[in-house]
C-alpha cells in the first residue's frame, strides 16, 4: 500500500493494445515493497499479461488477504476494484464476489503465509469448488511483514536470515492444488517473466480454478545462502517443463520462447495454449503424471516450473450450481420476489 499515486503522464508513443490501452493503463500505485522484491516482478507480469490479453482493467476484481503479497493488488490495475480482506480469507471473499457477478475476471493474490497457514483451508476449498479465478501465490517461504519467521512453504533444512534451521516439512501448494482438482496448475519464478507472463495470461483465460505458485524471493529476509527460496537457489534449481504462448482467436501474443516442439491446447473459451515442450515425456493433461513428476523432481532438489496440468474442458462453480447467465447482482424484485399471490398460497398450505 502506498500514499503515492503514480504520475499520469506518459510518452505519447507508448504502444497500445487492441482496446487502445497502454501499459500505463494497467498500472497501479507505486509499490512500497522493498526494492528488488520478487513480488514487484509478479506485479509487472500481471500488468503485462492483462495488457497482452487486452482486458478492460475495470472488469477485473483483484482480491487479496493480508501480508506483503496481499498488498500488491494496489500496485496494478489502478482502475479495478481491489479488496484487501483478512488474513488467509481471500478465497472465500473471492468466491462470494464471483457468485455475485460471474461476468468479471477474478484475480486472487495471496502469499505463502496467507495461503499455506491460516488460509490453507480456504485455499483448498476454493480449489475444490472450482471457482473461476486466477489464484496466484507469491511464495517467498518467509513472513516478511513480521521480519523473517519461516512460513509453511519453507523447505525443511533451509535456513532463516538469523541462521535458524527449519525442521518442519514444507507444504507444496502445487501438489495440493493438483490433488484437489484444480484444472490449471502451474509454478513459476518471479525472475522468469518470459515464463510467468503467458502462464498468467493462460490462467486468466482458463474457465475454472487456475492456480499459479510463483517462487518470489524475499529480498530482505530470505535471499541468503541456506535459503531454498533465494534468487540464486531458484535459478540454479529451476527445471522448466514447458514454455507456453497464449493465442486469442487468430492473433498470437508475441513472446520470446525457447525452441522446441509445440502442442496446442484448446481451452473452453476458445483460447489456445501453445505449449513448447522441453521434456519429451511431459504431458500437461495427465494429473497423476504431473503429481508423480513433481514429487520425483522435488526429491532431486529441483523446482519444477511451467504449466504442470490443464484441463481444457474444465467447469466452474457456476456450472455446478447451474446458475443463470445473468449476474446475480443485477437481478431485481421482478426476478427474485415470488410476490404476494405465491405468499397467499404458502400461507394456505401452513394452516
Amino acid at each position: 500500500m502506498t500514499y503515492i499515486a503514480k504520475p499520469k503522464f506518459h510518452h505519447p508513443g507508448l504502444k497500445k493494445n487492441e482496446l487502445g490501452y497502454t501499459h500505463r493503463d494497467y498500472e497501479g500505485k507505486i509499490s512500497t515493497l522493498c526494492a528488488g522484491c520478487g513480488h514487484d516482478s509478479i506485479t509487472a507480469s500481471i500488468i503485462e499479461a492483462c495488457y497482452e490479453l487486452s482486458i478492460e482493467p475495470h472488469r477485473v476484481a483483484k482480491i487479496s488477504g493480508i501480508g506483503c503479497s496481499s498488498k500488491t493488488p494496489d500496485y496494478f490495475l489502478g482502475n479495478s476494484h481491489g479488496f484487501n480482506s483478512v488474513h488467509g480469507r481471500m478465497p472465500s471473499v473471492l468466491t462470494g464476489a464471483n457468485l455475485a457477478n460471474r461476468d468479471l475476471i477474478y484475480l486472487g493474490v495471496s502469499g505463502d503465509g496467507d495461503s499455506a497457514s491460516i488460509g490453507f483451508g480456504q485455499f483448498a476449498h476454493s480449489i475444490r469448488r472450482a471457482v473461476n479465478m486466477t489464484y496466484i501465490v507469491e511464495n517467498n517461504g518467509v513472513y516478511g511483514l513480521t521480519k523473517g519467521q519461516f512460513s509453511a512453504t519453507a523447505d525443511r533444512g533451509s535456513k532463516s536470515k538469523k541462521g535458524v534451521t527449519n525442521t518442519d516439512n514444507a507444504i507444496d501448494l502445487v501438489a495440493i492444488a493438483l490433488q484437489l482438482g484444480a484444472t490449471f496448475v502451474a509454478r513459476s519464478f518471479s525472475g522468469d517473466k518470459t515464463q510467468l507472463v503467458p502462464l498468467i495470461a493462460a490462467a486468466i483465460r482458463h474457465k475454472g480454478a487456475s492456480f499459479i505458485d510463483v517462487i518470489s524471493p524475499c529480498i530482505a529476509f530470505n535471499n541468503h545462502a541456506g535459503s531454498t527460496k533465494s534468487f540464486d537457489y531458484v535459478r540454479e534449481h529451476n527445471d522448466a517443463v514447458n514454455r507456453l504462448d497464449v493465442l486469442v482467436g487468430r492473433d498470437p501474443i508475441s513472446v520470446d520462447y525457447a525452441p522446441g516442439t509445440v502442442q496446442v491446447v484448446e481451452q473452453h473459451d476458445g483460447t489456445r495454449l501453445a505449449l513448447r515442450k522441453l521434456d519429451a515425456d511431459y504431458d500437461p493433461h495427465d494429473r497423476l503424471g504431473a503429481q508423480t513428476f513433481l514429487q520425483k523432481h522435488a526429491a532431486k532438489g529441483q523446482i519444477v516450473t511451467g504449466l504442470l496440468y490443464v484441463d481444457p474442458d474444465a467447469e466452474d462453480l457456476h456450472t455446478h450450481l447451474d446458475t443463470v447467465e445473468t449476474p446475480l447482482n443485477t437481478l431485481d424484485e421482478q426476478a427474485l420476489c415470488p410476490g404476494s399471490a405465491v405468499l397467499d398460497k404458502i400461507n394456505a398450505s401452513l394452516r
Binding site: M1, D103, L336, S340
Partner: protein
C-alpha cells in the same frame, strides 16, 4: 399423598411426550399438535431435544390453549411416558391431578406411579407386535397407535386426524392407508378398554382464525427469498441449519428461471463459519444480497469478518439462531445470550444493528427488511432469533408482502452518475447521515474504482494512518449508527389499564410469555406498562420509557442481563432503575416465571424499607 381429583379442563392443558431420540415419534407428535389446531384450538408446541442423534431422551410438549397463550406455561397435565430412561423424572413432573399415559405391555410396580395422578395403560407394544412383523414398522406405528388412543381419550375427531394424514401422505396411498389403520387400532382399543374421554378434552372452537403454523427458521428463510437474497453461504450448526435448508427448499420452488430452469440463487455450504461469512461479504461487496445463518459459536468464529464489514462498510446479513452458551453450552437449548457478543462483535470500536423478531411472522418481515437495511447502511445486520422461535412451530398471523415494494439498494453510484461528474469518495459523507456512496466492481472504465481494506483510509479510500483521518472516519461511523436508529423497527409500547410507576422491557421470544404474564400480574394487582424492543440501536423512545417510570423490569433469557447492560451502556441510565428478570436454564421462559419474579419484587416494594428505618 393427598387424594387429588383428576384435572378437568377443556381446551386448556399441557401434554408432554417423553420419547427416545430417533424413535420416529416426531411426526406423530407433530400430527397430534396439528390435529388440535384443526379443531380450531390454538396450540403451542415445543421440541425439547438432546444434542444427540439417537438414544437420548427427547420431549415434545403441546400446550393446548383456547385463550391463545403461545408461550410455554410450565407444568404437565398429561405425560405420554414412552421412555423408561426418564420415567421417574417424567412421572414426577406431572401436575397433581394429572394423567400418566404409558405402554402397559410389561407390568410396572405400583411404586412407579403416584397416587395423585390418573394412570392410563395401553399395551402399545403388544398391539404393534401382534399387527406388524417388521421391526421398523413396529417402532413407527407404535407412535401412531398412541396417537389413536389419545384421540379417544381427549375426544379428538378422528376424521380431522385422518384428513391431516391424507395431506401428509398425498399420492402415497399405501402409507396413507397403513397410518390410518394404525390410528384406528389405537383409538378402537382405547374406546373398548378405557373410560373415554378423560377430564382433558378438546372441543371444536374458532380461535385459530386465519393464522398460520410455521417454524421461525423457515419463515426467516422465506423472508430471505422475498427480500431478494441471491447468495447464501452457511455451515451446519444447531439450531440454525434449518434456515439454510429451508432457503434451499424455497429457492428450488420459487427461484428458477421458467425458461432455462437455471437457478437465480447460489447456495454454498462453506467449509466453516469463517468461509461462510467471507463468501457473504465478497458477494455483498460485489452487489448481491447475501446472508448466512449460524448460532453463537459461529458468531465467535465470524467476528473478525464482522469487524471488516463494519469498518470497510460492506453489507451482510447474519441470522443468529441463539442457543445456550457459553462455549458449546447446551446446543439444543434456547437462550437470548448473544446480545452483547453480536452488538459489539469484533475488536476495536464496533457497533452492529440487531433485529429481534418475536415470532415467525416478524422473522419473515425482519429477514426481508434486513437486506434493505444492510444495503442502506452498508454494514452487518443481525437477525436475532433463538431456538424457541427458530425450531418450533408457532401460530402467527399470515405472512404478508406488498407487491409495490422495491428493494432499497442503498447509495450505489452508477456509471451514469459517475459520468455526470459526481464526486465519488468511497467514504465521503455526502448527505450528512454518515452513509457514503459505494460502487460495484466493474462499474466504469476510469471512474469509481477504489480499494476496500480493513486498514484505515481517508474519505477517498486512500490508505492513511493519520490520527485525524482515522478519527474522522470513526466519528462518521457513529453518525451512521445514529441514522440507523430511525430505520430499524421501532419498539412497541402498551400501557397498563391504570397509570403506573412501573414498566417492563422485553424482546424476541419472550413476547408470548410476557403477554400472558401481564394478565396474571394484573390479576395480582400489579399494573405494568410494557415495551417490546425490536432493534438495536435503541430508539429514543426506549430512554423516554425508562425515564417515565420509577422502576423498569428487563426480562431476558440469559444470566448476565445482556439487554439491560446494553441499555445502560448505550443510554447512560442508572442501572439501579433497571431490574433484571432473568431466565437461563435453557428452557423457554414461561408466564409463570415472569409473573412470579415481577410479582414478588412488586410485593416486596410495598414493604417499608426496614434498613432505612433502622439507620
Amino acid at each position: 399423598m393427598s387424594v387429588q381429583s383428576p384435572i378437568s379442563s377443556v381446551n386448556d392443558f399441557v401434554v408432554r411426550f417423553a420419547n427416545v431420540n430417533g424413535s420416529g415419534s416426531a411426526s406423530a407428535n407433530e400430527l397430534f399438535a396439528r390435529s388440535i389446531l384443526r379443531h380450531g384450538v390454538p396450540v403451542s408446541p415445543r421440541n425439547i431435544f438432546p444434542s444427540n442423534i439417537q438414544g437420548l431422551p427427547t420431549w415434545y410438549e403441546v400446550r393446548v390453549t383456547e385463550d391463545g397463550h403461545l408461550g410455554a406455561r410450565g407444568g404437565v397435565d398429561m405425560m405420554v411416558a414412552m421412555n423408561p430412561q426418564t420415567w421417574d423424572k417424567d412421572v414426577a413432573s406431572i401436575e397433581p391431578g394429572g394423567y400418566l399415559f404409558y405402554d402397559s405391555t410389561k407390568p410396572m410396580p405400583t411404586s412407579k406411579f403416584r397416587e395423585d395422578i390418573t394412570v392410563i395403560g395401553v399395551p402399545l407394544t403388544a398391539i404393534t407386535n401382534s399387527t406388524y412383523t417388521d421391526p421398523r414398522q413396529r417402532q413407527l406405528f407404535k407412535n401412531i397407535i398412541y396417537l389413536g388412543a389419545l384421540c379417544a381419550l381427549l375426544d379428538l375427531d378422528p376424521k380431522l386426524v385422518e384428513q391431516l394424514i391424507g395431506e401428509q401422505y398425498k399420492g402415497k396411498e399405501k402409507l396413507l392407508s397403513s397410518n390410518v389403520h394404525a390410528l384406528h387400532l389405537g383409538r378402537d382399543w382405547a374406546l373398548q378398554n378405557l373410560k373415554c374421554p378423560i377430564g382433558l378434552r378438546v372441543k371444536k372452537s374458532d380461535k385459530v382464525g386465519d393464522r398460520i403454523f410455521i417454524e421461525g427458521n423457515s419463515a426467516a428463510a422465506l423472508g430471505a427469498v422475498y427480500g431478494g437474497a441471491t447468495v447464501c453461504a452457511w455451515y451446519p450448526i444447531t439450531p440454525s441449519s434449518s434456515v439454510a435448508e429451508a432457503f434451499t427448499s424455497h429457492c428450488k420452488k420459487y427461484r428458477h428461471d421458467p425458461e432455462t430452469g437455471k437457478a437465480k440463487y447460489a447456495i454454498v455450504q462453506g467449509e466453516d463459519e469463517l468461509a461462510s461469512i467471507g463468501i457473504v461479504i465478497g458477494a455483498s461487496w460485489n452487489g448481491a444480497r447475501a446472508f448466512t445463518a449460524t448460532s453463537g459459536p459461529g458468531i465467535s468464529l465470524m467476528t473478525e469478518f464482522i469487524g471488516l464489514s463494519y469498518f470497510a462498510e460492506i453489507p451482510a446479513v447474519i441470522m443468529n439462531i441463539q442457543r445456550a452458551g457459553p462455549s458449546t453450552g447446551m446446543p439444543t437449548r434456547t437462550q437470548q445470550c448473544d446480545v452483547i457478543a453480536c452488538a459489539y462483535a469484533s475488536h476495536g470500536d464496533t457497533k452492529h444493528v440487531l433485529l429481534f423478531p418475536e415470532d415467525p411472522a416478524e422473522a419473515f418481515e425482519f429477514a426481508a427488511a434486513a437486506f434493505d437495511l444492510a444495503e442502506r447502511l452498508q454494514t452487518t445486520i443481525f437477525l436475532m432469533l433463538d431456538l424457541d422461535i427458530g425450531m418450533n412451530h408457532r401460530l402467527c398471523r399470515p405472512l404478508k408482502w406488498d407487491d409495490a415494494k422495491q428493494y432499497d439498494r442503498g447509495k450505489v453510484m452508477t456509471a451514469e452518475m459517475l459520468e455526470e461528474g459526481r464526486d465519488f469518495g468511497r467514504y465521503l459523507d455526502v448527505d450528512g447521515d454518515g452513509i457514503p456512496y459505494r460502487t460495484y466492481p466493474g462499474t466504469h472504465p476510469t471512474k469509481g474504482s477504489y480499494f476496500t481494506r480493513g486498514t484505515s483510509r481517508d474519505r477517498y479510500a486512500r490508505y492513511s494512518e493519520e490520527g485525524a483521518v482515522y478519527a474522522d472516519n470513526m466519528q462518521r461511523l457513529v453518525r451512521k449508527f445514529e441514522t440507523a436508529q430511525d430505520m430499524v423497527p421501532r419498539p412497541l409500547q402498551a400501557n397498563a389499564a391504570k397509570p403506573t410507576k412501573y414498566g417492563v422491557l422485553y424482546f424476541g421470544s419472550t413476547s408470548p410469555a410476557m403477554d400472558e404474564a401481564i394478565g396474571i400480574l394484573e390479576a395480582r394487582g400489579h399494573q405494568l406498562d410494557r415495551m417490546r424492543i425490536r432493534a438495536f440501536p435503541f430508539h429514543s423512545s426506549v430512554a423516554s420509557f425508562i425515564a417515565d417510570h420509577d422502576f423498569v423490569y428487563v426480562v431476558e433469557q440469559n444470566r448476565d442481563a445482556q439487554l439491560r447492560q446494553l441499555i445502560v451502556n448505550e443510554n447512560g441510565i442508572d442501572p439501579v432503575r433497571l431490574v433484571p428478570i432473568l431466565h437461563y436454564d435453557g428452557t423457554p421462559i414461561t408466564a409463570r416465571f415472569i409473573a412470579n419474579s415481577i410479582g414478588d419484587h412488586q410485593d416486596h416494594l410495598k414493604v417499608t424499607p426496614l434498613r432505612k428505618a433502622v439507620t
